[in-house]
Structures are given as structure tokens and as C-alpha cells.
């Protein structure tokens, strides 16, 4: 029977192919992110303030960490591949090696002793027929263990003695500060920077359509599909709880009235989007939808 027909070999190959595909896509995702961030950095360099090194929303240390994990997983796969190769070549006679002898390196790495010397390292135990050898610890394993212990000491030292690495609260403060810098820089150049003082009623069909889309995907849960009200008040009548001008409605959406059950949406939608929603809400006036909720608040003309 050819080893290629062996289901075990097939399964091992299958696993490796799938893992490789996953790693490949993960890697390309990260590379794409890196490319984008490089472009962004070029752009940021033009500005006065340089934002901290970020790669697609994750810090560069995280990015390199992920890359190294991928690399390590590749190593694991290579090891599996090696095993597979051993399985495949078991029957054929050992060929003469021209290039690097990986098997010799592997043997050396693990300080393997040839099978013929096995009796010399048999410790003479016999537990229900199980014998034990006294092979030396694989050096790479032992030094790896030492390395993690050193890592642990350095880690604790940096975080809790030298304070040269940020603890979670500090990390959070830094992240928010950097995000704020980036945001301000963006808004400086963007036409999107309306607020409750500068907002104007939008009337173009495109804006109202965009507002409607958000409304029917989010606001309808409380205010009804057509703004007729439900959990929240009716938006189609002329009565308003918190003012009915475009500025008022913009403000209500932006900051919310948390004690009355209206949440703030400023972290969910951009100022431009909030202006679109507010304009769409204003456009609902007098549409008289069915099942309208009774008026609440004061009459505004």
C-alpha cells in the first residue's frame, strides 16, 4: 500500500493545508492593515502632531505580537510537516543528502541518542511492562523554560517596580488621548464638523434618504417605523418634549435624555449623520401615520 493512500497522512495533510490557509489569510489581513497604516502615517507626518504608532486600530506592539504568533504557528506546522515526511519516507531507503541534514540538526537540538545506545540509558524501571529511559532534557526546551522565567521577571519589574510600562488605567488614558488627537486632525480637514449651534436643516433627498435608513434601522424600535411613537414619543405631531427646532432635535439625538430613556448617540453616529437623522425627523411633521401615540410635551409652531 502506498503511504499516500494512508488516511492518516491524508488527514494530517488536510489539517496543515487548512491551517496554512488560515495563517495566510490572517497574515494578508495584517499586511493590508500595515500598508494602510503606512499610508496614514505618511499623511499624518504632514500634520504638526504625529499620532502614536497604530496599525489599523491596534497598537504596533499588538500587531507585531500577532505576527510573531503567526510565525510560531508556522513553525509548529513545519514540525508537523517534518513528521509527515518521516511517515512518507519510512519505506524508501535513506537517500544521500546533498544539502542540509535537518534530521541531524533535529537530533542535535534534542540531544537524541541513537536507538542502539538505548540499553545504556534504561533506568531499569518496569511498571506493568513499561520501561523508562533517562534521556537528557531537550536543550531548546530547557533554555526556553529559562527564557520564560527571565521574561516573567522583566515583565513584573517593568510594570510594578520601574513603572516603565502602562497598567490598564494608564493604557486607557493614552489610547483616548491619541484617538482625540487623530480625531481633531481629521475634523480640521473635514466638512463634517457640524454641532448643535451650526447645524442646518438638510433638504436634499440624498440626506433625507440617509437619515431615513438610520431611523428605520435604529430609532424605530422606540419611535415606530413611521415615527408614530411607541416606547418613545410620537415624532410626527407638533408637540415636542425637548424643543422642536433642528438644533434642539440634533442636541437631543447627540446627547440624549438618559433619565427619560433616550440614550446619547454621539458615539454611534457622526455629526453629519446626526444632522441627517434630525432633518429626517423634522421632515416627518404632519405625516399622520396610523397608530399615532398621543401628543406629549408642548405645542411648537
Amino acid at each position: 500500500m502506498s503511504t499516500l493512500e494512508n488516511p492518516f497522512v491524508l488527514v494530517m495533510t488536510g489539517i496543515m493545508v487548512v491551517l496554512l490557509l488560515v495563517i495566510k489569510s490572517l497574515a494578508s489581513l495584517l499586511l493590508a492593515a500595515a500598508k494602510r497604516s503606512w499610508k496614514e502615517e505618511q499623511r499624518a507626518r504632514a500634520g504638526v502632531l504625529a499620532a502614536a504608532p497604530m496599525i489599523s486600530g491596534i497598537s504596533d506592539t499588538t500587531f507585531y505580537m500577532l505576527v510573531s504568533i503567526v510565525a510560531l504557528e508556522v513553525l509548529v506546522i513545519l514540525y508537523l510537516l517534518y513528521n509527515l515526511r518521516v511517515l512518507l519516507t519510512e519505506h524508501s531507503a535513506p537517500k544521500e543528502r546533498k544539502s542540509i541534514d535537518y534530521r541531524a540538526i533535529w537530533t542535535k537540538m534534542n540531544r537524541f541518542r541513537p536507538a542502539t545506545e538505548e540499553s545504556a540509558i534504561d533506568v531499569g524501571h518496569d511498571y506493568d511492562g513499561i520501561r523508562e529511559l533517562d534521556n537528557k532534557l531537550p536543550p531548546w526546551w530547557l533554555y526556553g523554560f529559562y527564557a520564560t522565567i527571565i521574561f516573567a521577571c522583566v515583565y513584573l519589574w517593568r510594570y510594578h517596580v520601574a513603572h516603565s510600562a502602562p497598567l490598564p488605567a494608564e493604557e486607557y488614558r493614552i489610547a483616548v488621548e491619541q484617538a482625540e488627537i487623530k480625531k481633531q486632525e481629521y475634523l480640521k480637514n473635514a466638512a463634517n464638523s457640524v454641532d448643535e449651534n451650526t447645524v442646518k436643516l438638510l433638504t436634499s433627498p440624498a440626506d433625507l434618504e440617509a437619515g431615513k435608513a438610520i431611523f428605520q434601522g435604529t430609532c424605530f424600535a422606540c419611535h415606530g417605523k413611521n415615527g408614530e411613537g411607541g416606547v418613545g414619543p410620537n415624532l410626527t405631531d407638533a408637540y415636542w418634549l425637548h424643543g422642536g427646532t433642528i438644533q434642539d432635535v440634533f442636541k437631543t439625538i447627540k446627547y440624549g435624555w438618559p433619565d427619560k430613556g433616550m440614550k446619547s448617540w454621539k458615539d454611534d453616529f457622526s455629526p453629519g449623520q446626526i444632522a441627517q437623522i434630525a432633518s429626517y425627523v423634522k421632515s416627518l411633521a404632519g405625516t399622520n401615520p396610523p397608530n399615532a401615540k398621543a401628543p406629549q410635551g408642548t405645542l411648537m409652531k
Partner: protein
């Protein structure tokens, strides 16, 4: 030297093997059910018992304590007798152990389906069952140590070191974590609160992985792998070093489940560094297993037992490498609360525990029935389907976890969150479907195995008492070759027990004691007040329905989480939470700050029909909350219990508690009425709304400096 004749008890092993198969199927089907519920919420058929929140604990408990648990006992009862050259200490204790354990599992499954839960992950069973577990565990211990004492082999083999460490550590973990105050027959409150409860719980939870899923199975590997391969163990000294290093280091790693939470920073850091140091000791086991196969790889191609064992060990190696990686803070920030963790644990559960169990079964059954395996081909098919199942299970979930986390963290250029929470859920539903297909494949493999084993048993003849003979234990030990210092303890099982206990107690004590005794670890917040009686009743419903299995209550200090949920969580907020409800997976959004975010009527409609308020939601409808009534008679007992646990209700408050309950209920009913919703007296839904509306409210009333102070600075000052 006189040779003694005796018989090995195979009957107990056989019963445990049957239990493995039976509970394996139950547990895996429960898992498949839960997996399907995630994209098909109506899967619960409108019944409370079959919602995800109750099915998931049934799944985890059945797979861990019933499938793997019985697997441990099956393997231990088989190998221990042979390694000690002695029959088990007492047939009566073996019987008590077997039936006691099955009774615990059956009661556990039924009570979990009924919603009787302590609300602590992997320790959900209520206090009467906790006591029964302790009793049966002690019976197991007596039987094991009794056998060790009458052994005919002077030294104990490495497999038994692992069994001993398992026994003593699981006893310690179970007892410490299960300290709880009974309120009624099937209801108790954890003795610990908030941050402390979380630390104890994950010290337990992580080490249940270590000492229930890992060390006993390493012991089984050390027996069955060399037997099946007929090769000597690669390195005795590696056994010694990796055993002691593993049990000493493992116990410290629990806090890596609580990175970026309100747990004190120093404890989080200990969790990180000990997890990293755990790689080598874990891999020591893998290397000793794989290298034992040197010179036997040609057998691996032929023998189904070895195939299963090799993939099991490989999965063990991958999972124990990934674990420390997930403990690094910046990786954890992405992986935690997502499906990444779920994929990770299933590599361990399906690959390591599942495949090792299958390998052992394929090895044991033909031998105990004195025959050969019915079909190698079917075993090969099982191997193939099972492996495919694991890959199909894990890969989509890795992808889902990574994708969802990235979506959570995405901001637009204007600084807004790019995705609503629900979008991040609906986006990964295809991955959930793929995963349930992987799970279904894995289970079909198990059915093939059951058929194969049944056929094997049918063609053989069961040997209930297997004859064996061995020389009586000689007075003095003789050693061939070099005598290691470690041989001393290998002759003394009781000393082995004591030293193992010392090794595992150190890490636990150093992490737990300061968190309990040093006040600065949990700075109090004066505006945080005990729950009102109605909220307390609502909280018990929240626990009963297993809401914490999909909703976290822990806002981590990340920009996206603060933007999405509000100010990040502080240690002082949870001081009255018996038990804590931080959760470990965010299938739904975090609820730590949900109080006041929506009107009462929103919650009412949402619990009645989640998709009416959140279209596309995968939460099931909780219709029964609208009919069931809370038991106001228990209010008294609950307040009294909380007072015993140190929650500062005024003296004599328990008697008047129901007055406040009625008042609060009336106010919620009035607010529902304003939105045209009327509801009856004492309905559970009102209590649950009261609890949800309370979440995160106290800290908003706190003075600024106090609210922003948290335990993180303690180490620095």
C-alpha cells in the same frame, strides 16, 4: 520470593466506560443544541429548560465532569491496579464511587435544566450536589490510596503522581470555591463577593482545566501511550521536572481570565507571567509523549489507538502553546469575550480529552473482552471524521472571534463607533453555522465508535476478574542503574500527596489572601448601595436564566468599550454581588451600565420578543417570565442570608423588605402603564426589569474622584 495470585477488577472499569459513552453523547448533543440556538433562537421550542442559558451549563458540566470525569475514573481504575499490581482497595467503594458519581451527574443535569444554579461558571451545581461531590471525591481518594497502600510495586510510576496531584488539588479547589450560604434547598449565595468571588472562581475554573482536564489525562497518557506503542518512556528526568513544574506553576495562572477587569493589577500580572512560564512544563508532557514514539512511527500508521493518541498529544501541545499566548495582555484584549476562547478550549476538549478518551477506549475494550477490535476500518473512519470535525469546529470560531473583536474596536475617522453591537453578531452567524456542522461531524464519529465497540464486545467474552500474579512487596528496595533522589518520594504516596498539596497551595495563597485582606485592593465607593428586595429577586432570575453566559457585566478600560457601554468598571462596584456576574463571553452586549439606558417598556418588549426591539437579535424570547410569579416568602430568607454575608441592610430590614418590594413594583408598573402595558401582581418580569435598571446606576451618583479611583494604583503607591 513468594508469588501471589490475585485478580484485577475489570467490572468497574467497564461501567465507567459505559458511562463515558452515555454521558459523552448527552453532553455533546447538548453542546450541538446550544450551538444551533446561536443562529436559530427558536431552537428552545419556547421552553425555559432548553434556552442557551441553561443548555450551555448542562453541556459544559456533562462534557467536563461526566464525559471526561468518567474517562478519568475508567483510565485510573484500569491503570492504577496494574501499576500497583493489586486489585482496587475495596469493591464496595468502587461501586459507591461509580453510582455516586452518576447520581451527581444525573441530578446535576436535571437541576441545571430546571434553572437551579449557583451562577458560577463550571461550578454551577447547587450546594446539596456540591456536598455530594465532596463525599464521592473522598470515597475515590480512599479507594485510590487504599490501593496504593496495599500495592506490590515499591515505587509509584509517573502516571500515579499525576493521579495523586489531581485528587488533592481538585479537592482543594472544589471546597474553597464552593463555600456558599444556603438560602433554600436549591438556592445559595456565594460566600465571596465581586472581585474576590471572581478571583476564587477563576482560580477554580482555570485549575479545573489544569487538574481535571490536563493532569489526570497526562497520567493516562503516561500509561496507555507506552503500552500501545510498546516503547519505553523517553525521559524519566523530564517526567520529574515537568510534573513538579507543571503543578506548581499552573495554579497561579487563574487571573489570566480576568485581564483588564477590576481585579487588582498585581494579580493580573501574576496571571500573565505564570501563564507564560507554563509553556515549557506543559510541553514537557507533549515531548515526553511524542519522543516515546521514536522508533514506533511505523506503528502509528497502522494502529488506530496510536493515531488517536498522537493527534490528542498534538492538540494538547497546540492548546498549551495558545493558552499562554492568549494570556498576553494585548492578545487577550482581542481574544477575550469572543469566540476565540471557545475555539481554544475546544481544541483541548475535542482534541486532547476527546481523542485521548477514544484511544483509551479502543485499547481497553478489546482487552477486557479478550478479543480484537471489530473493525480497524471503522476506527479509521471515526478518526477521519473526528479530526475533520475538530478543524471545522475550530477554524470558523477563530475567524469569528478575530472578526468580531476587530469590528468592536473599529472607529470611524470622526471618532464614532463604526458598528452597532448587533451588526457584529449577525456578521459572524455563518461561522456559527459552520461550527455546528463541525460539532455534528464529531458526534457522528462517536456513534461510529459506539457501534464498533459494541460489535467488539459482542464477539468477545468479558473478563470481569482478570487473573494476575506478582511477588509480594520486598522489604528492601533494590535499584538498578543510577538512583535518583526522587526515588525517595516515589516510595511514599502520602508524602507525595503532602508535597503536591504544598506545591499547589503556594500560588493560591499568595493570590487569594492579599485580595481578601488588603483593603486597598478593592477601594470602596460610598454611593454603591445594596440591592433593593425587588432587585435582589430580579438578580436571582438573571442568574437562574444564565444571562451571564451571553452578557458580560465588565466594561474593560478600552476606548471602544467606554464609548459603547460607559465608564469602565471599578472594583468597588461589585462589593454586594454574591455571586459576581462578570461573565466570560459577549454573545450579547455588556450589561454593566444598562440601567437607565432604555425605558422599562423597552425591556418589557425586548424580553417578550427580542427582535421587536433589536431586529436580527439572536436572543430567545423569555415568555415564561410574564406568567411566573416571584416567591415573596423567600424575600425574608434572601435578605437575612445577605446580612449574614455582610451586606449592610439595616437591622430588622428582612421583616419589612416586602413593603419596599411592593412599592418599587408599583412604580415600575406605573411606568409600564404610561406606555400602555399592564402586568399582573408579582410577575418575574417586573423584578428582572428592576434589576436591569439598577445596573451601573450607583457609580453615576458617585463623586468624581471616588469613581475614578481604582485598585490599579495600589501596587505603584
Amino acid at each position: 520470593m513468594q508469588v501471589e495470585k490475585f485478580y484485577y477488577d475489570n467490572r468497574t472499569v467497564k461501567w465507567f466506560a459505559y458511562a463515558v459513552l452515555f454521558w459523552g453523547v448527552v453532553g455533546m448533543l447538548a453542546g450541538l443544541w446550544a450551538a444551533i440556538s446561536l443562529y436559530y433562537p427558536a431552537m428552545n421550542l419556547g421552553l425555559p429548560a432548553t434556552t442557551f442559558g441553561r443548555m450551555r451549563p448542562v453541556h459544559t458540566n456533562a462534557v467536563i465532569f461526566a464525559f471526561v470525569g468518567n474517562g478519568i475514573f475508567m483510565g485510573v481504575y484500569y491503570s492504577l491496579q496494574r501499576l500497583c499490581k493489586a486489585r482496587m482497595f475495596s469493591d464496595v467503594l468502587s461501586k459507591l464511587h461509580f453510582w455516586g458519581w452518576q447520581a451527581i451527574i444525573a441530578t446535576g443535569a436535571i437541576t441545571l435544566w430546571m434553572g437551579k444554579t449557583s451562577g458560577k461558571e463550571y461550578a454551577e451545581l447547587e450546594w446539596p450536589i456540591d456536598i455530594a461531590i465532596a463525599v464521592v471525591w473522598i470515597i475515590f481518594g480512599i479507594n485510590m490510596f487504599g490501593t496504593l497502600l496495599k500495592r506490590r510495586e515499591r515505587h509509584i510510576y509517573v502516571a500515579i503522581w499525576f493521579y495523586i496531584a489531581t485528587w488533592v488539588t481538585v479537592a482543594m479547589l472544589h471546597i474553597v470555591n464552593s463555600v456558599e450560604l444556603p438560602v433554600t434547598l436549591w438556592k445559595s449565595y456565594s460566600w465571596y463577593a465581586g472581585v474576590q468571588d471572581a478571583l476564587v472562581q477563576w482560580w477554580y475554573g482555570h485549575n479545573a482545566v489544569a487538574f481535571f482536564l490536563t493532569t489526570p489525562y497526562l497520567g493516562l497518557m503516561y500509561y496507555f501511550l507506552p503500552k500501545a506503542a510498546n516503547r519505553p518512556i523517553y525521559s524519566y528526568r523530564l517526567s520529574i521536572i515537568h510534573f513538579w513544574a507543571l503543578i506548581f506553576i499552573y495554579i497561579w495562572a487563574g487571573p489570566h481570565h480576568l485581564l483588564y477587569t477590576a481585579l487588582p493589577d498585581w494579580a493580573q500580572s501574576l496571571g500573565v507571567v505564570f501563564s507564560v512560564m507554563l509553556i515549557a512544563p506543559s510541553w514537557g508532557g507533549m515531548l515526553n509523549g511524542l519522543f516515546t514514539l521514536r522508533g514506533a512511527w511505523d506503528k502509528v500508521r497502522e494502529d488506530p489507538v496510536l493515531k488517536f493518541l498522537v493527534v490528542a498529544i498534538t492538540c494538547y501541545g497546540m492548546a498549551t502553546f495558545e493558552g499562554p499566548m492568549l494570556s498576553l495582555k494585548n492578545v487577550n484584549a482581542i481574544s477575550h469575550f469572543t469566540d476565540w476562547t471557545i475555539a481554544h478550549v475546544h481544541i483541548g476538549a475535542l482534541g486532547w480529552n476527546g481523542f485521548l478518551t477514544f484511544g483509551v477506549l479502543y485499547w481497553l475494550v478489546p482487552r477486557m473482552w479478550n478479543t480484537t477490535l471489530y473493525s480497524k476500518k471503522l476506527a479509521g473512519a471515526h478518526f477521519w471524521i473526528g479530526t475533520l470535525g475538530i478543524v471545522l469546529y475550530a477554524v470558523p470560531l477563530y475567524w469569528a472571534g478575530f472578526t468580531q473583536s476587530m469590528m468592536w474596536k473599529s472607529f470611524t475617522d470622526e471618532g464614532q463607533l463604526k458598528f452597532q453591537f448587533l451588526e457584529t453578531v449577525t456578521h459572524i452567524l455563518p461561522m456559527y453555522i459552520a461550527r455546528s456542522i463541525g460539532g455534528a461531524l464529531y458526534i457522528s464519529g462517536v456513534f461510529i465508535m459506539i457501534y464498533n465497540l459494541a460489535k467488539t464486545a459482542a464477539q468477545g467474552h468479558f473478563v470481569a476478574n482478570e487473573a494476575a500474579e506478582a511477588a509480594a512487596l520486598p522489604e528492601t528496595a533494590t535499584t538498578h542503574g543510577r538512583a535518583y533522589w526522587h526515588r525517595w518520594i516515589e516510595r511514599r504516596p502520602m508524602q507525595m500527596l503532602v508535597f503536591s498539596l504544598i506545591a499547589v497551595a503556594i500560588g493560591g495563597l499568595i493570590e487569594l489572601v492579599p485580595t481578601f485582606l488588603v483593603k486597598s485592593n478593592i477601594p470602596t465607593i460610598s454611593s454603591v448601595k445594596p440591592y433593593t428586595p425587588l432587585e435582589l429577586q430580579g438578580r436571582d432570575i438573571y442568574v437562574r436564566e444564565g444571562c451571564y453566559l451571553c452578557h458580560s457585566q465588565m466594561v474593560r478600560p478600552f476606548r471602544d468599550e467606554v464609548a459603547r457601554y460607559g465608564e469602565y468598571s471599578k472594583a468597588g462596584e461589585f462589593v454586594y454581588d454574591h455571586p459576581f456576574q462578570w461573565g466570560s463571553k459577549r454573545t450579547g452586549p455588556d450589561l454593566a451600565r444598562v440601567g437607565g439606558k432604555y425605558p422599562d417598556s423597552w425591556h418589557y418588549n425586548h424580553l417578550l420578543d427580542p427582535s421587536s426591539m433589536s431586529p436580527g437579535s439572536i436572543m430567545p424570547s423569555y415568555v415564561w417570565l410574564f406568567d411566573h410569579e416571584i416567591d415573596t416568602v423567600d424575600t425574608y430568607k434572601k435578605i437575612r442570608a445577605m446580612q449574614t454575608l455582610g451586606v449592610p441592610y439595616p437591622e430588622g430590614y428582612a421583616e419589612k423588605a416586602n413593603e419596599d418590594l411592593v412599592k418599587q413594583e408599583a412604580s415600575i408598573k406605573a411606568s409600564l402603564k404610561a406606555d400602555k402595558i399592564s402586568t399582573g401582581q408579582n410577575k418575574e418580569i417586573v423584578a428582572l426589569i428592576a434589576y436591569l435598571q439598577r445596573l451601573g446606576k450607583d457609580i453615576k451618583a458617585a463623586p468624581k474622584e471616588e469613581a475614578s479611583a481604582d485598585g490599579s494604583n495600589v501596587m505603584g503607591n
